[in-house]
Amino acid sequence: MTIAHGEIQETIRMVQMESLDIRTVTMGISLKNCASHDFETVKTSVYNKIVNYAGQLKPVAERVEKEYGIPIVNKRIAITPIAEILGDASVEQAIELADVLDQAAETVGVDFIGGYSALVHKGMTKSDETLLEALPKALASTNRVCGSVSIGTTRTGINMDAVGKLGEVIKDTAELTKHDNSIGCAKFVAFCNPVEDNPFMAGAFHGAGEGEAVVSVGVSGPGVVLNALKRYPDADLGEVADVIKKTAFKITRAGELLGRVVSDRLNVPFGIMDLSLAPTNAMNDSVAEILEEIGLESVGTHGTIAALALMNDAVKKGGAMASSYVGGLSGAFIPVSEDNGMIRGIEDQSLSLDKLEAMTCVCSVGLDMIAVSGDASPETLAAIIADEAAIGMINKKTTAVRVIPVIGKEEGEIVEFGGLLGRAPIIGVKPFSSDKMIKRGGRIPAPLQSLIN
């Protein structure tokens, strides 16, 4: 069937003027067979396996973006949660392994490798403990290694001992990277209900149910959605949802096509499409601005959650129609430092940490790329994680926390992370302590699945 000129023009406009891109092509690689009683063997086989599988990822993806004229912004790798192959390794060895991962990522030319992770939502094994101990130094001494820890699920409840520990991990990481605006924390996520096939960083890992290797794709396109809405300034909210749905459909189809071509050429099975609307600091590539276009003076004001719920749902509906294999986090991301509209909202004081928390009830993930004042205590950070995990646990959805306590900075200052990570105004935390609750430890029991009001 021939393509109409209007359709050609629409695609070109989306790419050239509205920042349509494929945000990430992420290769998941299982490292289960790299486990060994001899740690030197572990290091060599991890390095070799990653380089063998992902060696062609970058050149192939770059080739495909040229042929199709749609940029693939990031090429990344997700691996088996490292705690699962650590065995009896020591903390120092676990840090060495992070360096090996960093080198492998550098060799194959990917910007991030995710999966320096542990799943401890119910309890911690010895190797999980080792990984948690190693995390601050591992995050500080590497450039490309991302870590994540699952601390709760709807079926298990929340492991508050692990939550308390993560407060310390985040604070230590911030201290170790304080010369660099505590950037190490930007590579770490705490999860409730994590997904096993998320292609987005910093929370990507290759889950236990996944195969040997897989290629998953994360699309993007807040700019495309924003511009589509601008063409319907007087539409009612039903029509707004419809516009978002149709746009998400087109974006997803483009993403799936390119993802499948990449996976074909690499001879690795195609995994899933993640439909997340992921903003960048490019002009007009902001999720906050979509909410404002729907009719809010500034993101964070009354009505924000309703608008976000509408948008998130419409994106999923359009995307689910476009691809048979939807997975990952699929929804809207609301990172602060990577979204010009969110940054403005905080500067104008229309958006607060409390409102961001509330927003995470209806969007895809959680508190993301939020810079808080450097004097936030480990217990306060842990309590922020606990709150967010509770939202995820009760609502049966993924929630995550990626906060950066920027050592030496206070509320109201601006911190520049640079590159894709953007910049963020420092948000203050409440001056009242949560110490006692965190120190109690133990597990928050799994919630009832009936009596759901």
């Binding site: 393509i3 050609i8 042929e67």
Partner: protein, 90 residues
């Protein structure tokens, strides 16, 4: 079957745009299946459906287009046809 691509050229109208672009296509032995061109408020817009270049020549082709883009102040893009099919057809 050989894959087809869509070439679009947009820019301020001037003498010789079609000549320059189609000459390049001929150099790379790329057959043109369909061509359409309009001028909208002084802006030249052309779309062509063409055969794709040989795999190993894509980089050279893109470079040549880049040169024309700077010399004539145009925007030229070439994309495989599949992506339009995927985005606009169920």
């Amino acid at each position: 079957m050989k894959k087809r691509a869509v070439v679009t050229v947009v820019g301020k109208d001037q003498v010789g745009i079609i000549a320059r672009v189609t000459n390049v296509l001929a150099d790379y032995k790329m057959n043109i299946h369909d061509i359409s061109q309009t001028i909208l408020q002084d802006y030249f817009t052309m779309m062509m459906i063409v055969d794709t270049a040989e795999e190993d020549q894509i980089d050279a082709l893109l470079k040549t287009f880049e040169t024309i883009e700077t010399e004539m102040n145009l925007t030229i893009s070439i994309q495989l046809e599949d992506v339009f099919q995927a985005m606009h057809r169920i």
